[in-house]
């Protein structure tokens, strides 16, 4: 079956395209999806085969090209980056491209804008779709001119007859192309790299002008006539319930219309609402005022025993004990038993909250057993699933419109807030907008996990390790989906733990169990944050113990340029969804970015003054190779200043250089926030922090003063960009602090350690 088909003049595309448009659709996912989700199969399938429409492309008679953006835009550039691939292969003029944001629908394949997947998962399918349409436009022109198609060439929204110079615009060819059969995939010629007009260049965000003029539509800006505004009082302790409540005073607040309860979740909590009492009003302000007046008595439940200081001790004790082995090369036990020099170290990193600038928010309308929602979500299909399961309706009866997202970082792939709006709309009989205040956002997040790491190395000749043992303990993300899950899976271990690239004959990665007492969720670059912090801090410690230059020492740890033998990796090694043939661990690429970052920073010529230092870390995550050098100063009072961050990134083939540059600049700031000041703690199960005052993130004046980004030119398959810039930042800064002060930071955030 062809994966790209002609859907021109089909009834079911009405509304998106005009009757005269040339419409192609590309199937994004393999046949399995077709079997799983028979939705949207056209009643009159082309070619007599049931076909599952996916990515849409339409060319209107006026020449405008319409591309459906099926990934969410949260600032990582996917909404621009994925369609621009198609536009390039189509030879479309990007200025004449209009984007239509897809609703949630399994027919698009995965829409979960998470895991730095958008470009690498859709690069080939978008190219195929664009090239197929281009070929058909060339064929349509050839028919009109009665010449061989080989003499016709698409160039910037026009097809040109090479010998005569005759030209027809894409719009003029749309109706003729619409009547053509789709050529076989084998006959489609993709453009050579040298002919790429947008891929590998710089394209401004599609929504740029709307953003700077205040017209861009975020979830917070969604509105439906007649809707009520709601805020929710949620159980302060995870798993708590409402014992009783008194809403008399709340209802007296002008503008407050009603209160309503939301049921607590049934384990596993998944993305269900936490439960609580909502105040619904004519304005957000009135709802907030009403919530202030609400008196709720809570049943706190078992997690009221959660105290971060005690939990830390448990985690650290677990990390000191043997855990589940996820990677085992050689035999570390035999090597340690030889009784030579051993170095041990422990590291700790706290819970973090995502804190996107736009807190979670959703509008939902329940009507006639169906739900329509408008929201800032990274995963509209999970909105469908979650709302359907909470309300007991069918997934197909949930329509999710996707707005722009005011940041996501993983928080907005968990649609509990949309389910809250749907539940309340059903109770109110009106559309309801649920707004999370910043306090709600920070107290009731799906937190990045708190983690303890124990590291041990046996030191041989030249100070190089002959054995390396690393153990981590943290509540797994899987606890969100399976009650009582205490041990991570191969996927979470793949995030910088089971894939350590060191060339050490005896190497073991273990992981110990931990219970969760809050909701745990993925957060930009996930477990790579604490894994990279421990691994690259420890490597730096060993380098200094050996009296060697950290860069040269770490490159020696990395070993000779090679593809790491698949057999040295765990049997169950997901490799972030990439095949090992296409995306192997290539130490030459890591070495190259490390050398590049060092060169950018002037590593070899660095001043070795008291109070000033450079630190380096390099790490592969999301199939991308990143190295960072940080340059810091620490003054006599212990005040830390990050003067410069130099990051080199090799993410394979790049689609939008400007986006990559911006993402890596941003990752340095995001990484600096968690390194310097980010910390979420709990006392008696209640989160201690509530807003940017007690959960600070970098402001301009504490962000790195200068961030330089180098993007490696590569023809390798595209890899991730949104996340891999984060993991190197904290260890590079901490290693720089050691170089500046001789003080080793083994706990994040750095603010916990006195540097003077």
């Amino acid at each position: 079956m062809n994966t790209i088909q002609n859907f021109s003049r089909r009834d079911f595309v009405k509304g998106m395209f005009s009757a005269g448009a040339f419409v192609l659709c590309a199937q994004a996912s393999p046949l399995k999806l077709l079997a799983d989700h028979p939705l949207g199969t056209p009643s009159d399938p082309v070619g007599g085969t049931a076909f599952h429409p996916s990515m849409w492309l339409g060319i209107e008679p006026d020449g405008s090209v319409i591309i459906v953006a099926h990934r969410s835009e949260m600032g990582s550039g996917s909404r621009t980056g994925v369609p621009v691939i198609l536009a390039d292969e189509l030879e479309a003029d990007w200025k004449r491209v209009r984007l239509v944001q897809a609703i949630g629908d399994a027919k698009y394949g995965s829409q979960n804008t998470d895991g730095s997947h958008s470009i690498r998962d859709f690069f080939e399918v978008m190219r195929q779709a664009g090239a197929t349409a281009r070929t058909m436009l060339e064929q349509a022109a050839a028919q009109k001119w009665n010449v061989p198609a080989s003499e016709c060439e698409a160039k910037v929204h026009t097809v040109v007859h090479k010998s005569s110079g005759k030209k027809l615009g894409f719009g003029e060819l749309a109706s003729a192309a619409a009547k053509l059969p789709v050529p076989a995939k084998e006959s489609i010629k993709l453009k050579p790299r040298s002919a790429w007009r947008y891929i590998g260049k710089e394209t401004s965000l599609y929504d740029l002008k709307d953003i700077v003029t205040g017209k861009a539509g975020f979830g917070m800006d969604a509105s439906v006539p007649g809707m009520l505004h709601a805020v929710v009082a949620r159980p302060p302790v995870f798993g708590g319930t409402v014992k009783s409540f008194d809403d008399k005073e709340a209802l007296k607040v002008p503008g407050v219309r009603m209160t309503a309860t939301i049921d607590p979740f049934k384990p596993p909590h998944n993305f269900q609402p936490l439960g609580g009492v909502a105040v619904l009003a004519d304005s957000t302000w009135a709802a907030m005022q009403g919530r202030e007046k609400l008196k709720v008595e809570w049943e706190n439940g078992l997690n009221a025993s959660y105290n971060s200081a005690e939990f830390r001790k448990q985690l650290e004790a677990t990390a000191r004990q043997p855990g589940k082995v996820f990677r085992d090369v050689g035999n570390v036990d035999t090597e340690f038993a030889k009784g030579g020099k051993v170095i041990e170290s422990e590291y700790y990193a706290p819970h973090l909250a995502h804190a996107p600038m736009e807190p979670p928010v959703a509008v939902a309308e329940f009507r006639d057993g169906k739900v329509e929602a408008w929201t800032c979500t990274q995963n509209p299909q999970d909105v469908q699933e979650t709302v359907a399961s909470v309300l007991g309706i069918k997934k197909e009866d949930v329509t999710c419109h996707v707005t722009l997202l005011g940041g996501g970082f993983g928080r907005k792939s968990k649609p509990d807030y949309v389910a809250e709006a749907a539940v309340l709309s059903k109770k109110a009989g009106k559309p309801v907008k649920v707004v999370w205040t910043r306090e709600d956002d920070i107290k009731f997040d799906f937190f990045h996990s708190v983690a303890a790491m124990y590291m041990k190395a046996a030191i041989g000749a030249n100070g190089m390790p002959t054995a390396w043992l690393q153990r981590s303990a943290f509540p797994p993300i899987g606890s969100t989906f399976e009650s009582g899950q205490r041990v991570s899976d191969a996927g979470e271990m793949n995030l910088g733990w089971s894939d350590t690239p060191w060339n050490i004959p005896n190497l073991r990665a273990e992981h110990g169990p931990a219970a969760h007492h809050v909701r745990i969720g993925w957060f930009r670059s996930v477990a790579n944050i604490y894994h990279a912090f421990a691994i690259h801090s420890f490597a730096d410690e060993l380098a200094h113990a050996a009296g060697r230059d950290p860069l040269e020492y770490m490159l020696a740890l990395l070993g000779p340029d090679r593809i790491i033998d698949r057999k040295l990796l765990p049997t169950d090694f997901p490799n972030m969804g990439g095949t090992y043939e296409e995306y192997p661990i290539d130490t030459a690429r890591l070495r190259h970015v490390a050398r590049k970052a060092a060169e950018m920073a002037g590593w070899g010529k660095r001043a070795k003054l008291k109070g000033e230092g450079m630190g380096i870390a390099f790490h592969r995550s999301f199939l991308t190779y990143v190295a960072t050098v940080a340059r810091v100063t620490v003054d006599g009072a212990g005040k830390l200043r990050i003067h410069q961050i130099d990051t080199a990134i090799d993410a394979g083939t790049i689609v939008n250089r400007d986006t990559v540059n911006n993402q890596i600049q941003g990752a340095a700031v995001f990484g600096a926030s968690l390194a310097l000041m980010g910390e979420i703690t709990a006392t008696n199960g209640v989160i201690d922090q509530s807003n940017f005052g007690d959960y600070p993130v970098c402001h301009m004046e504490d962000a790195p003063e200068k961030i330089n980004v180098h993007i490696v030119e590569s023809t390798a398959p595209p890899a991730g960009v949104g996340e891999p810039g984060v993991p190197t930042i904290a260890p590079a800064i901490c290693n720089a602090i050691f170089a500046a002060t001789g003080k080793r930071v083994r706990e994040l955030p750095i603010s916990k350690t006195k540097l003077a």
């Binding site: 917070m220 205040t437 301009m700």
Partner: protein, 152 residues
Amino acid sequence: MITLKINGVQKSFQGDPEMPLLWYLRDVLGLTGTKFGCGVALCGSCTIHVNGEAVRSCVTPVKAAEGKSVTTIEGLASAQGLHPVQKAWIAANVPQCGYCQPGQIMQAAALLKTNSNPSDKDIDEAMSGNICRCGTYQRIRTAIKAAAKEAR
């Protein structure tokens, strides 16, 4: 009843005079370019101009703007086109998610009104209350300098 001018248009408001301007603009007038980020003047997403000065609309009650002139991101451009700060933001491709940017732009525009050639330190001080979680600060600084140069 409270009367005030919003983006040059006279408005009168009969609701709760304590309601922050932010919610009056967003929920009552539908001017959603001004964003809610923290509610307690810690992030700057809600920055607007009242009589030309940058204020946090999330903690400024409507009554405090009685008789005054309010400008929001929607009113920053003039008949001559976009404000130099907006143009500079476009030229430098500043935004990632874009949510904080209206507040950043209003703050920067207020800075340039009183300081046509801000130093790095001036920019740090003026912009210190505006958080960008995506971390676009370096580009914000570049854009402010470019806008200042353009406006001089």
